[in-house]
């Protein structure tokens, strides 16, 4: 599969998921479902790399994206914002997508995956909520929480369909992308629950920034190594490094002179 075909498969997947969760009012008044191409890339990774992929796997993979869209919608609800129309419908969008994912799996009679994904959603919610708690956070705890929040659903899907060998790569890469966005936020003067616990765990916002820098560099090297070790097909590896993580690659090249 060349890069264009990979791109087309991701686009097709994106379109089909959007069709499944289509709702006129939600689309009119909210940001709509966040079906990120990066996540789709990792979700489809075993297929793109030539692994056995049945029609059932294909259908189930879409529900993972729908659940992710549900959880992401609720991330757009402001902590203390007033109840305006967009915010109200954003709450309901998340709930609606959750209903759709359940309905799709119920129709597929895949109740075992309902159980596994539900378990992952509960764990992700626990990890997200824990960022609001006064816990004796250590950086390693934060890494585990971030890995679960960012890749918990994909990990569950991989385990369910015996694609466990892709797990580490997805967790590292998706964590890397999260740390990058937190770093950007921090540099622009923003704050988030994750940045707050990182500052507590490392001592200050300044040390949190250093920690994030180091972490993204380490994770990038790890991802490059894991992509080779997997091994990923050449085009896929290239797609990963040039399209999914292009910014990091540029930084690496600059650093290496």
């Amino acid at each position: 599969m060349n890069e264009q075909q990979i791109d087309e498969k991701i686009t097709l997947e994106q379109v089909r998921i959007m069709e499944l969760v289509h709702h006129r009012t939600l689309e009119k008044f909210t940001a709509g479902p966040a079906v990120k191409r990066t996540r789709l890339f990792f979700l489809l990774l075993p297929y793109l790399n030539g692994e056995y992929w049945s029609s059932e796997t294909e259908a189930s993979s879409k529900t993972v994206s729908i659940v992710q869209a549900a959880l992401d919608a609720h991330e757009h609800v402001e902590e203390n914002g007033a109840a305006n129309l967009e915010q109200q419908l954003t709450v309901l969008a998340g709930d609606y997508y959750s209903g759709v994912y359940y309905q799709v799996l119920a129709r597929l009679k895949n109740i075992d995956l309902v159980r596994q994904l539900s378990s992952a959603i509960a764990e992700i919610s626990e990890n997200k909520a824990s960022l609001y708690e006064s816990l004796p956070w250590r950086p390693t705890d934060i890494e585990i929480a971030v890995g679960e929040i960012e890749a918990g659903l994909i990990r569950t899907f991989y385990e369910f369909y015996s694609y466990g060998s892709y797990e580490r790569l997805a967790i590292r890469a998706l964590s890397l992308l999260r740390y990058e966005s937190e770093l950007e936020l921090l540099k622009s003067g923003g704050r988030s629950p994750l940045l707050n616990v990182l500052a507590k765990a490392t001592g200050s916002m300044l040390t949190a920034e250093q920690w994030l820098h180091e972490k993204v560099n380490t994770l990038y090297s790890e991802v490059v190594h894991l992509a080779k070790q997997q091994p990923l097909q050449k085009e896929l590896e290239s797609f990963l490094l040039n399209r999914v993580l292009p910014h990091r690659k540029m930084e690496q090249l600059i650093r290496e002179g």
Binding site: Q103, I121, E126
Partner: protein, 324 residues
């Protein structure tokens, strides 16, 4: 008094309801102290538990297997509770059942996580049931509840909406989950299709009656009885049945138009509540609720004469006549 009545109504189900209560507590146990506190806080604030009760009673019309029935009853209550946590964010509510809401005690985001967590635990629990038909019924009900909530937001502050819109909204928002509780109870116990259909329709009519009475109580009950300010629905711009009927009175319509969507003082709020309470809107709403109640009783009449039938009848009357 109402709580005593409910306790009496539930007395035969007490052992089973106590197990359900324990399972609900177990289901929301979390490694996150925050989620644990938030979920338990909600659970312990009480509630009528009418959905689990309908499941239990409906299941008596088939081969009652306690464990299977609980695997349906517990998720339904958890799904209902999850929707309440999210509703409080939507409505910006500070108080529910006399207690601070999750969003008031923590924040909107924590309320989102709490609802998502409870919903996930509900489905985890439900997954113990292997019959895919039950899951399709439950999934459909969940989606319809969301659609109902979305329509409610679309219809907000539109005083010129018609009765059909209101009925369509409460059907999805409330009646379908109660209808599904009865249907799922029957399905979980393997009741025959005709019985399941009667149970489903009974639940639907009772659900309609329940929501209409809920909307009436928003005006007729006191702040203390409601555990929130009377007239909250109106304050949030929700046009409920008493308002739809009350607007036929020109003087009252002018008051409603003047106050709808405005920030009202407590005095102004109570004035609106008082005017609606005195209007024909309350009587006419109760009449419509009664018609649904009668329809529900007709469905019940077609079911076999077992003790559960009387319990469902008593519960239907309680719902139709409750004071808060």
């Amino acid at each position: 008094m109402e709580k005593v009545k409910l306790r009496i109504l539930y007395s035969d189900l007490r052992p089973e309801l106590e197990i359900i209560e324990k399972e609900l507590e177990q289901a929301v146990q979390s490694s996150s102290h925050l989620l644990n506190d938030a979920s338990l806080h909600l659970l312990q604030a009480g509630g009528k538990r009418i959905r689990p009760v309908f499941v239990l009673l409906a299941a008596k019309f088939g081969d009652y297997d306690a464990a299977t029935v609980r695997n349906v009853a517990v998720p339904l209550e958890l799904i209902h509770m999850a929707s309440l946590v999210h509703d409080d964010v939507i409505d910006d509510s500070e108080v529910r059942r006399g207690e601070p809401t999750v969003k008031a005690q923590w924040n909107n985001r924590v309320a989102m996580y709490t609802g998502d967590f409870m919903f996930a635990r509900a489905l985890e629990h439900a997954a113990a049931v292997r019959n895919p038909v039950l899951h399709e019924v439950l999934a459909k009900a969940i989606i319809e509840v969301c659609r109902g909530e979305i329509i409610q937001i679309e219809d907000k502050s539109q005083l010129d909406q018609n009765l059909r819109s209101y009925l369509r909204r409460i059907k999805r928002k409330t009646a379908l989950l109660i209808s599904s509780s009865c249907e799922l109870g029957g399905l979980a116990a393997g009741a025959d299709p005709a019985t399941v259909a009667h149970l489903r329709r009974f639940g639907y009519f009772i659900g309609m009656s329940f929501q209409i009475i809920d909307d009436v109580l928003d005006f007729t009950a006191s702040d203390a009885e409601l555990g929130k300010p009377a007239g909250s629905d109106f304050l949030q711009g929700n046009i409920t049945l008493p308002i739809l009927f009350a607007r036929d009175d020109e003087k009252l319509q002018a008051l409603l138009q003047r106050t709808l969507g405005e920030e009202l003082t407590d005095r102004q709020r109570l004035d609106v509540v008082e005017e609606v309470r005195e209007s024909a809107g309350i009587r006419r709403s109760k009449e419509l609720s009664d018609r649904y109640l009668q329809k529900a009783l007709r469905e019940l009449a077609a079911l076999p004469d077992i003790p559960s039938k009387k319990a469902l009848r008593d519960l239907a009357f309680f719902i139709g006549k409750r004071k808060f």
